[in-house]
């Protein structure tokens, strides 16, 4: 009977494709929007991800994220280094600044000062030049996404001179970094140089990046740093999560994306529900005839379930493949750099598809179940 059910469904091409479209569109909308949402809020942790060597981030107790920070006295570095279990600790500066380009434009940038000796704090990979280029005087390295914000299409940023806090800066490299949430231009330079690029104030050390000794536990070292220095210390994962949480709590993004995902669900229910109920209505005589002939209600349930499962699996696959193609197709666009589909998101959209089909299938089944076999004689 399942074969008959499938043929009943696929034989009505218009409704079959309508159902596929409904499920695929709904899956695409839910999966794509959740992917964009997830990838976007993950950028709240980009500052952490761009400094992969740091196992612990130490900061002023009021600092919340890499972007929302409060500078500490320079002596904090030595205080952290004196804590047992700290293998190394380096200074890290993150501060906003305004840059004037050679064409006279003004651009807001983030200055990141990395340790002069070890260059810890730079992104892992460079796209143009090597990390050693920072040894040259007045050198800054720009992030790849920042190029598109600061320069016109096709313009080579290498060698471009900038003016930062009345100081000369020359772009000599491009870092392969994860864009920040605001996609603001980031300029990496040595810590000692960054102090010159950021307008002066008494305290300018924003973070101390820490690596722990072999055999030490992260949580133990974090506790020791906080107890001995009075500063706030967070593991890499906790601090990354704090950045994500900050975006969630302080922007309307979850609400807006939530509305879009909900709309995707509602559109799915509407299209699939309408088409499926039309399909059932058009075939109600056939279902009634089957019931009269001697097909049990349970067999009818299995038939409708098989129809829903077929439509659901094909439509879901189309929707997920559509999302993959979308993300892949836009992977070269800076706006979508680093976007990926975590495995949990297709599971969420699968759950949504199952709910859509269960709801609409149940509504369709109700009318079939209510149909008396005797109705075929009327």
């Amino acid at each position: 009977m399942l074969w008959i059910a499938i043929r009943m469904l696929t034989g009505d091409a218009m409704k079959f494709y309508g159902l596929l479209f409904g499920i695929a569109f709904s899956t695409l909308l839910i999966t794509q929007q959740l992917t964009i949402y997830y990838s976007l809020i993950e950028r709240g942790a980009s500052g952490v991800y761009n400094a992969p060597e740091a196992e612990i981030w130490v900061m002023d107790p009021v600092s919340r994220t890499t972007e929302v920070n409060y500078a500490m006295p320079a002596t904090a570095l030595d205080a952290v280094r004196s804590v047992e279990g700290v293998e190394w600790a380096v200074p890290h500066l993150r501060a906003p600044a305004s840059v004037r380009t050679s064409t006279g434009d003004l651009e807001g940038v983030t200055i990141v000062g990395v340790d002069d000796a070890t260059l810890i704090g730079l992104p892992e990979r460079m796209l143009v030049a090597s990390k050693d280029i920072l040894a040259q005087p007045d050198t800054v390295v720009i992030d790849d996404t920042g190029i598109t914000n600061m320069f016109e299409d096709g313009q080579d940023p290498i060698g471009e001179r900038l003016e930062l806090n009345d100081q000369r800066a020359v772009i000599r490299g491009v870092a392969d970094s994860i864009p920040s949430f605001t996609s603001q231009v980031t300029l990496y330079t040595k810590y000692s140089q960054a102090l010159n690029y950021v307008p002066g104030s008494r305290n300018r050390l924003t973070f101390v990046l820490v690596g722990i000794s072999d055999g030490e536990q992260l949580a133990d070292v974090v506790d020791r740093i906080e107890a001995q220095t009075g500063l706030k210390a967070e593991t890499r994962d906790d601090f990354a999560q704090a950045g994500v949480q900050f975006i969630i709590e302080n922007t309307g993004i979850p609400t807006n994306f939530g509305i879009t995902v909900l709309l995707g669900f509602i559109v799915g229910v509407a299209i699939v529900g309408l088409t499926f109920s039309l399909f059932i209505r058009d075939n109600i005589k056939q279902f009634g005839a089957l019931k009269a002939i001697g097909v049990t209600n349970w067999s009818i349930v299995k038939m409708v379930t098989a129809q829903a499962a077929l439509v659901g699996s094909i439509g879901y696959a189309l929707g997920v493949v559509g999302t993959v193609l979308f993300i892949y197709g836009f992977s070269g666009v800076p706006t979508f750099k680093g976007f990926f589909i975590p495995w949990e998101i297709p599971l969420v959209s699968l759950g949504a598809v199952i709910i859509i089909l269960a709801m609409t299938g149940w509504l369709g089944l109700r009318s079939v179940m209510r149909t008396e076999p005797a109705a075929v004689f009327r």
Partner: protein, 239 residues
């Protein structure tokens, strides 16, 4: 199950009453019908629209519960069966031919004719093969792979007949089998039905008001206002 007997009582209906609710009022459609349907005969149930003939055969074949009364089909009190047992009883013992055929439009003639066998659990290919044999007997074997919308009305009716007979039921119920056919096609279908559906141990009930085919009946029951007013081999003179 009783052994096939050309003259056994196929259906024994006693005191069949059926009421329908229409708003606040209750309309009695059947008024205590008592009748027997015999095997080996083609029995017509005839009457005006609204006389209760469709309700009567619906009750006789186990798809509509009577308000009161008892129906035995080949000795089985069908309304004492559970829902599942009744559905299975219909599947094993009754073949249906509907006025509008109710063929499934997206499967071919052979598959449509094989539906009862598939519902009984027979694999698709053997069921189709058996259905195709019957279609050949009905002279539309060459149409077995065509979809219903590629067949004429008469051919669709033959597919419906094949579907009703493929599982060799002991009772065949037809609702207005000639209503959608012209006179010649209707006559041919009834000749065919008489040839294949009427057999020893099998009863055939036909609901119709097509007076062109009354002469093919072995027995005619006339229903008026929910009561049997005539039971004979011919139509009464006043009809």
């Amino acid at each position: 199950m009783t052994s096939p007997d050309a003259t056994e009582t196929a259906i024994c209906a006693r005191g069949i009453t059926r009421d329908f609710k229409a708003g606040q009022s209750v309309i009695r459609v059947l008024h205590g019908i008592d009748t027997d349907i015999r095997s080996g005969e083609m029995t017509y149930v005839v009457g005006e629209s609204g006389s209760g003939k469709t309700t009567l055969i619906s009750i006789m074949c186990g798809i509509l519960w009577p308000t009161d009364g008892e129906v035995k089909v080949f000795g089985t009190d069908i309304y004492s069966l559970s829902d599942t047992e009744l559905v299975n009883f219909r599947l094993q013992n009754i073949g249906f031919i509907f006025q509008q055929y109710n063929l499934i439009p997206s499967i071919d003639a052979a598959s449509n004719a094989a539906v009862p066998l598939i519902a009984q659990g027979m694999p698709l290919e053997p069921a189709r093969a058996k259905a195709t044999e019957l279609l050949e007997k009905l002279n539309i074997g060459d149409q077995a792979n065509k979809l219903p919308n590629q067949l004429s009305g008469g051919q669709q009716q033959r597919v419906a007949i094949a579907r009703a007979l493929v599982h060799e039921p002991r009772l065949v119920v037809c609702d207005e089998p000639t209503a959608a056919l012209d006179a010649n096609s209707g006559r041919r279908v009834m000749d065919l039905l008489r040839e294949v559906a009427v057999a020893p141990g099998r009863a055939c009930i036909i609901v119709t008001h097509d007076n062109r085919i009354f002469d093919l009946a072995d027995r005619i029951l006339v229903l008026e206002d929910g009561r049997i007013t005539h039971d004979g081999t011919d139509m009464p003179d006043d009809h």
